[in-house]
């Protein structure tokens, strides 16, 4: 052991000396050695990080030289020793320096640990710490998760039947949706990507309101202007979904900045997937949030897939959680299928964000059980049994059910009653939404600006005249 240490310090000395040209007298003997037998060994896994490992064979030469120039070496020794304690002053602060050239590894020895409270059987893990939930909250959380699951499957079927044009499910991510929403208050602003309708559900958006948006009828708050699942509701502090990926992340930072200026006791949460973290907006937003010290929670749903791109093709870092510290953002990795873990983490994140005015990054590991959307067939790029395993064995809803049942807060009668009721409500909501009128043509031109300008008024007039002149070309049931 001691020999190794001496060797490495000697090899550094050798390196320094060779650089300083102090080895002139012995160089000839060295070259002689070279010709005889190559002293350099090929870099092995052990010494690949230590570029001077090759010099270990030079020990004999150095030891003979030692007696000849001890004085010089003493000087070098003391200098080296002094250097180890010095710091450098650069813009950005003081930093200690090291004479050892050591690269930080691109991959860690161990991946960042994942916070979990419930095991796969829905039992609380022995030593876990979590935020207690009351029966009322827990039952609401579970009911909303079931509602979300049912809503997703009914809407998906409706799309397959041609009743709506498009849908994207959140199957497998119910815990993320509901538990994160439950840990926040209604005053906290939500900037979603598109797989978080559960947050809106928790806040009181009705099944009818969801259906209205999907059918784009006159009761849709978006006035029929967006594709299905692009929900938005001002009264629920849920900002309208935009189809562009990760553009909501800087929006969230701006909103948090606004909250900070108003000194409100609220925070912002924004959701995005693993794919969204590749967008430039994600990186800049995290950077800004850290620099400006604003209360925002960055919630990454790392579900393993960005349409057909697996995370191994998306990034080579240890997931998303390690990117937080790179920008100076406090981060945590949680089990995305564990309701209580998410609830606890978001609750804590909210506290920190508001009291310390700082951003927090939460990476929730999960799996996208459904297809990316109704325009996708994920069996084309991933094995069916993988999907099925995650759907059944790792279902977050079933896992949480086990926990509330073990507390005596739920039973199978409640379950069947809830599922039947929600399904019935959903079918009714779809029927009503389907029959309702579409928005009138006038709504094509409103809200582009606060007041329609003259050119839009002209265009509206022109369109109405065209419709009157060619009634057979326009659907009769579209109101004007």
């Amino acid at each position: 052991m001691a020999l190794c240490l001496r060797t490495s310090s000697r090899s550094i000395l050798y390196y320094l000396k060779s650089k300083m040209g102090l080895l002139s007298s012995s160089s000839s003997s060295l070259t002689h050695q070279h010709l005889q037998k190559p002293p350099f060994t090929a870099p092995t896994a052990q010494n690949v990080r230590d570029p001077f490992a090759n010099f270990s064979t030079k020990v004999n030469l150095l030891s003979t030289r030692r007696f000849q120039s001890t004085k010089v070496e003493e000087q070098w020794d003391s200098l080296n020793h002094a250097h180890h304690n010095q710091v450098l002053d650069f813009p950005g602060g003081k930093v200690a320096f090291t004479p050892e050239m050591r690269f930080i590894s691109e991959s860690p020895v161990e991946r960042v640990h994942c916070y979990r409270v419930l095991d796969d059987k829905g039992q609380v893990i022995m030593s876990s710490k979590f935020k207690q939930v009351s029966e009322e909250i827990a039952v609401k959380m579970y009911s909303d998760m079931v509602t979300l699951q049912t809503m997703d499957s009914v809407f998906y079927e409706a799309q397959r039947q041609g009743r709506i044009s498009f849908y994207a499910t959140a199957i497998g991510e119910e815990a993320i949706n509901i538990a994160s929403a439950a840990a926040l208050t209604i005053d906290d602003l939500v900037f979603p990507q598109y797989r978080e309708p559960g947050v809106l559900l928790w806040r009181g958006f009705s099944l009818q309101e969801f259906a209205n948006q999907c059918f784009g009828n006159k009761d849709d708050y978006g006035k029929g202007r967006q594709m299905p699942i692009h929900y938005g509701s001002h009264k629920h502090n849920y900002f309208t979904v935009a189809a562009t990926i990760a553009t909501q992340v800087p929006h969230a930072v701006g909103a948090a900045y606004s909250l900070k200026m108003d000194r409100k006791k609220a925070c912002v949460i924004t959701y995005f997937g693993d794919g969204g973290t590749s967008e430039g907006d994600f990186h800049a937003a995290l950077n800004f949030a850290a620099v400006m010290e604003v209360p925002v929670i960055f919630f990454c749903r790392n579900n393993g897939w960005a349409i057909s791109t697996p995370t191994s093709d998306q990034f080579r870092s240890d997931g998303v959680v390690v990117k937080g510290p790179a920008y100076g953002v406090r981060s945590i990795r949680v089990d995305g299928n564990d309701t209580l873990a998410i609830y606890t983490a978001v609750h804590a994140a909210r506290e920190m964000a508001i009291s310390e005015n700082r951003p927090i990054l939460i990476e929730a590991l999960t799996y996208r059980v459904g297809h990316h959307s109704t325009s996708d067939d994920s069996t084309k790029y991933r094995p069916v049994d993988e999907i099925e395993w995650w759907r059944s064995a790792r279902d977050p809803v079933a896992r949480f059910r086990k926990w509330i049942e073990s507390n005596g807060w739920w039973c199978s009668e409640d379950e069947s009653e809830l599922r039947t009721s929600v399904r019935k409500q959903m079918l009714h909501a779809i029927q009503v939404a389907e029959k309702a009128d579409k928005p009138p043509i006038a709504e094509l031109f409103t809200d582009v600006y606060n007041v329609p300008p003259s050119n839009l008024c002209e265009q509206e007039k022109f369109l109405k005249e065209t419709m009157k002149r060619h009634p057979q070309d326009y659907m009769p049931d579209v109101p004007v």
């Binding site: 602003l189 900037f191 849709d220 708050y221 978006g222 006035k223 202007r225 967006q226 692009h230 938005g232 509701s233 001002h234 900002f239 309208t240 935009a242 562009t244 553009t247 909501q248 992340v249 800087p250 929006h251 969230a252 930072v253 701006g254 909103a255 900045y257 606004s258 909250l259 900070k260 200026m261 108003d262 430039g280 907006d281 990186h283 800049a284 937003a285 950077n287 800004f288 620099v291 400006m292 409103t446 809200d447 582009v448 600006y449 606060n450 300008p453 003259s454 050119n455």
Partner: protein, 402 residues
């Protein structure tokens, strides 16, 4: 003299009067510099241009000259004199005083005061939070501004140079212009995006961008271009007060224009064009820096016996077709002078709009003078020729009025 000045202050809302008052001194100053060495002769030779001459020329167009200020003491004139960038700052400051939700964000806008000093002193007065220095990520800080606007603030996003806002195109087009519409009117975005653009003095292609043509199709935004200290302040205030997203185009070379503006508060209309010089023979439509080239050419044209009507369109989206239309109905001839590129420029849309609406009133096809479809070269001589020069304007009017 006193009556004109008095009337000007009483009718401070009427822009045409003020701008009419403005051009009396500049015409006088121009004739002085013209005598020094004919700009036009040098042009047609294609020979080396004396840069000093050019610089004098441009500044002389709009700066209150020494002759003017010595003629009457400043104390007797109402209003106060300032440079265009100071006018922008004054408008900004007045709005920030008036409404605590107004804030500024951009690169180096805080303690540095902005690369063109438009925000100088504001960070000290309002604090770092209201005048925010952002890291270099245009798309993202524009996105931040949009998020802040949706949550009740009125941010002004400054692009250090308009060209950098190309990086923000996604946020401007897909979110800024769209979210009010797609949310069904639930979320509004009262944001102002501003910055200097246009061809400067040998700044190179990347820093000589004219983005008005790229942005003009985006539904949901309004675009205005300021050209004088008076309308710069007025448009800045109007843009901040507007509920819609507004893009305010400034020009790098116009920041040092000096003008006397009223002391009392005024706001310009975002959708109105400015009558710079009423006339009878031909309508010349222009905006931003080209206004000054047009006015210079107008001197020559007046000497030659023409009576051009010059309108600074100011509102690039939507066009003020009312003012423009009235002018076309009067003169029956239209010349558009712009700094935009020829293809898909503001002039192209304006030509289409006028032809569609006022074709019956035109006696001749519309002539549009724009920059060529080339990136702006660095070399001074080349750069000068990518921008429309007064000589070309004079020739075009002569051609139109044949």
């Amino acid at each position: 003299m006193a009556t004109i000045v008095g009337a000007a202050t009483a009718l401070s809302a009427s822009k045409s009067f003020d701008s009419g008052k403005l051009h009396l001194p500049s015409r006088r100053s121009l004739s002085i510099s013209e005598r020094k060495g004919s700009f036009l002769v040098v042009r047609s030779d294609g020979s080396v241009v004396h840069k000093a001459h050019r610089a004098q020329k441009l500044i002389a167009n709009a700066v209150a000259t020494k002759a003017d200020s010595s003629a009457a003491s400043t104390a007797s004139k109402p209003g106060h004199e300032l440079l265009l960038f100071e006018a922008l700052r004054e408008g900004l400051e007045e709005e920030m005083d008036r409404d605590p939700t107004v804030c500024v964000m951009g690169e180096d806008v805080g303690h540095y005061g902005g690369s063109y000093k438009v925000t100088k002193g504001l960070a000290t007065k309002y604090g770092d939070l209201r005048v925010l220095d952002t890291p270099i990520a245009e798309n993202s800080f524009t996105g931040m501004g949009i998020g802040a606007a949706m949550t009740g603030l009125r941010p002004i996003v400054e692009g250090m140079n308009m060209g950098f806002l190309l990086l923000a195109f996604n946020q401007i087009s897909n979110n800024c212009g769209m979210l009010h519409y797609t949310s069904g009117g639930q979320f509004k975005i009262p944001i102002v995006i501003r910055g200097p653009g246009g061809v400067g003095r040998q700044l190179g292609a990347e820093h000589s961008q004219r983005l008005e043509s790229y942005f003009q199709s985006i539904p949901g935004i309004q675009m205005v271009a300021c050209s004088t200290p008076y309308n710069a302040k007025g448009l800045m205030k109007a843009a901040i007060r507007s509920e819609n997203p507004v893009i305010l185009f400034e020009h790098v070379l116009l920041y040092n224009l000096k003008e006397r503006i009223p002391d009392e508060e005024y706001v310009c209309s975002l959708e109105e064009a400015e009558m710079v010089r009423p006339g009878e023979h031909v309508t010349i439509l222009t905006y931003s820096r080209m206004r000054y080239h047009v006015m210079q050419a107008a001197k020559t044209l007046v000497n030659k016996g023409y009576d051009p009507e010059v309108i600074d369109i100011r509102s690039l989206k939507p066009f003020d077709l009312h003012t423009i239309g009235n002018s076309v109905k009067k003169t029956h001839r239209v010349l558009i002078v712009e700094e935009c590129m020829r293809t898909g420029g503001i002039g192209a849309s304006l030509t289409a709009a006028i032809t569609e609406n006022f074709n019956d009133y035109l006696d001749a096809p519309i002539i549009c003078l724009s920059s060529q479809d080339v990136p702006t070269p660095y070399a001074g001589t080349l750069e000068e020729w990518t921008v429309v020069q007064p000589a070309q304007i004079v020739t075009a009017v002569e051609q139109l009025c044949q």
